[in-house]
Amino acid sequence: MSTEKKRTKGEILLEMKDVRIEGFSDDKWHQIVKGVDVTLKRGEVLGLIGESGAGKSTLGLAAMGFARPGCRISGGSIVFDGIDLLKSSEEDLRKLRGSRIAYVAQSASAAFNPAHRLLDQTIETALDHHILDRGKAESDARDLYRRLRLPNPDTIGSRYPHQVSGGQLQRAMTAMAMSCRPDLIIFDEPTTALDVTTQVEVLAAMRDIVEQFHTAAIYITHDLAVVAQMAHRIMVLRYGKEVEEAPTREMLKSPREDYTKTLWAVRKLQMHERPSDDIVLRVHDVTASYGGEITVLEHVTVQVPRGRTVAVVGESGSGKSTLARAITGLLPPLSGEIYFDGKPLPRTLRERDKDMLRRTQMIYQSPDTALNPRQRVRDVIGRPIQFYHGISGQACDRKVVELLEQIELGESYLDRLPGELSGGQKQRICIARALAAEPELIICDEVTSALDQIVQEEILKLLMRLQEETNVSYLFITHDIATVQAIADEIVVMYQGKVVQQGPKSQVLSPPHPAYTELLLSSVPQMDPDWLTQLLAARSARSTRVPA
């Protein structure tokens, strides 16, 4: 292809200067991106990292000269290969998009049109922009599918989006972006919606193809370890401003800014495991089902020691949340027993008395849906106090304030509505609501996964401190291995409704592992930029060794 020659390293491809983008809300224009400079050379991959609201997706789209409805690019300049995008006509921009700058969206299942076949969507731009004729475009698309290691590359193109899996769709979308051999691809959180074991394959496929065609890319993500694998350089964004920018290895080794350091520090939170034989909850041989033939829990046995944390890890569909529902009585098990303090618990919620209910509390993944938007903090935390302990009026208010102080929020939060709180504050209120019952066990269902990294760490620290103070036990359900490493005393690994492995943290995390644990643990991206390369080398070595 003729463009191949132009791809010489060192030449500047994209230059964004002092870019300002505004969004419209509450009848006013607000700045989302507040003057950011981005320079990208040919063939270079820049990682854009930041928490939610940092403006990274908005900035990524601006590199295509595109602003979402309700947003506008209000200042600065964006020059792509000598073309000033902000001064170009919509028609000129359209001709650039897809053919020279391509986009890979976060949710492939939503970004593919359900009415057309994958192949037709893959080659649509190439045909429309008269870059290739149909025959060539189709054979090229099949070649791309093969390079991206999609199964059945010759026939998968004739399928419809809803007929293939999420990880495959994401790779098909990369093929679609690649079909015109663009100079630049914007990857917008392409693996965020995927399970960790699927993520590895998709990351590897995307990295390889970008290298093969020497394409420049902007890789947007909130996951540091992921960006470390993909990018040559990393830029950290916060509140629409650049915090710092450096080559990947340098950034990982010695971050300069405090904010960046705190992002790194999350990974360092590490609790030592504390063995204990005082069992507070024992789930014995439990099998459960949502009706029908499929059992979502099969002969699961789990023990939670008093004052300790047991982490249940697994990917979506592993049955870890169902385990919580079985324990709480929302989903009565088909067989098996649940013992609390050595005494069997009735199977259904209805049969359990108030005191049994009080002793197990629950904290949810999304604090937005876990708090009634119409109840004030005073009522949210006050209700369990009133309900379980019969304390009301001023005495109740006094308890609420004590709890608020315990979770590091003050009396001033008494009359706030959930809508007036940040995500982290809401999760703290949920913790206080659980604590108000004075429970012996708290089930934490993915409590940090909806939060930004720094907030995650604060919440985890708070939970640890509260455990020391009240000797409460945690059953901590999560898909995030880093969190497990940080806080667990014991680990239960689940896969397809079964317990694959369980034991003290040190034992589960150190080899040898059962096959699934091995796959799961090895798939968790590490901060090391060579991690993915080494992992793939190790895996291919093993797969060639096994048949031999």
């Binding site: 849906t369 876990a370 708090l371 209700r383 208010d397 008494l414």
Partner: protein, 295 residues
């Protein structure tokens, strides 16, 4: 310390509510303000009809079909009653009956809808939902006509029939909205806490389904009001001598062929009110849904 906090809250909360209500009202567009003013005027007329109207509701005060004059502002009708006075009394009758019907329809449909949502998939929910599907597959006006043929033209029958038919739509909305709330984690949290059904319904579910139901109340009121007017116009709704806008149109309809616009007045009175309510509801929906498709 806490007592003080309580006092502070009471004051703060109350002021906050009035303040925020005022702040919300200030952002209302012109159309919503216009709607609210028109509704206020209608309500005023309905409440104080006997004091405002120059003549009585069914009082024969002159000859038939007198043109408008200083004495009879809008002229007289087919048996010599003052049309302006009857228009004012009509506000009381037509709006009053429509309001009672809508309230009844919400009482029935709302209660059953929330109940069905909580017991989703249960036998009662199944039966209610199937029944509502069947009832909704007969157009309301047609169904009402048929039932009025059976039960005769009584106001009580009219109110009951329309309330019952309209409650099917309220049931659908209440059920659908409540189902979205029932699946929320905070409802599950209340169940896990061991709260009773009554508490969960009143404290967790009902407050969260109010905004769409309030907007729906406006729309259902318009619908009921228009249906009653149509039935009265067709001669099977509110019966003479009660002053009612729909039947006033019907009583004077022959005038229009002579180029006399009298029947248009009561019709316009109906139209103006429904337009006003629609303006207010439209604004309310925009606010509460957070959907601002302007941008």
């Amino acid at each position: 310390m806490t007592a003080e906090a309580g006092d502070i809250r009471a004051i703060k909360a109350r002021r906050g509510r009035i303040e925020s209500a005022w702040r919300v009202l200030k952002t209302a567009p012109f159309s919503a303000w216009l709607g609210m003013i028109i509704i206020a005027i209608y309500v005023f007329c309905a409440v104080f009809a006997p004091w405002i109207a120059p003549y009585g509701e069914a009082e024969i005060v002159g000859n038939a079909y007198q043109p408008s004059s200083a004495e009879f502002w809008l002229g007289t009708d087919q048996i010599g009653r003052d049309i302006f006075s009857r228009l004012i009394y009509g506000a009381r009758n037509t709006i009053g009956i429509a309001l009672i019907t809508t309230l009844l329809s919400f009482a029935i449909g709302g209660t059953l809808g929330v109940f069905a949502a909580i017991h989703r998939g249960g036998w009662l929910d199944q039966i209610l939902s199937r029944l509502v599907d069947a009832l909704m597959s007969i157009p309301t006006l047609i169904f009402a006509l048929m039932l009025l043929a059976v039960f005769g033209k009584y106001i009580a029958a009219l109110i009951l029939i329309l309330a019952l038919l309209d409650s099917t739509r309220v049931f659908r909305l209440a059920r659908a909205t409540a189902i979205n709330v029932v699946v929320m984690d905070y409802v599950e949290a209340a169940r896990l806490r061991g709260e009773g059904l009554g508490w969960i319904t009143m404290k967790e579910i009902v407050p969260n389904i109010m905004p769409p139901l309030v907007a729906e109340f406006g729309l259902r009121f318009c619908f009921v009001f228009l249906t009653i007017s149509s039935l009265s116009f067709l001669g099977v709704g509110i019966q003479p001598p009660t002053a009612d806008w729909g039947s006033m149109v019907a009583e004077n309809k022959s005038l229009i062929t002579y180029g006399n616009p009298t029947p248009l007045y009561p019709a316009a009175a109906i139209a103006l009110l429904t337009v006003a309510v629609n303006f207010v509801v439209d604004w309310f929906l925009h606010r509460t849904s957070g959907l601002r498709d302007e941008h």
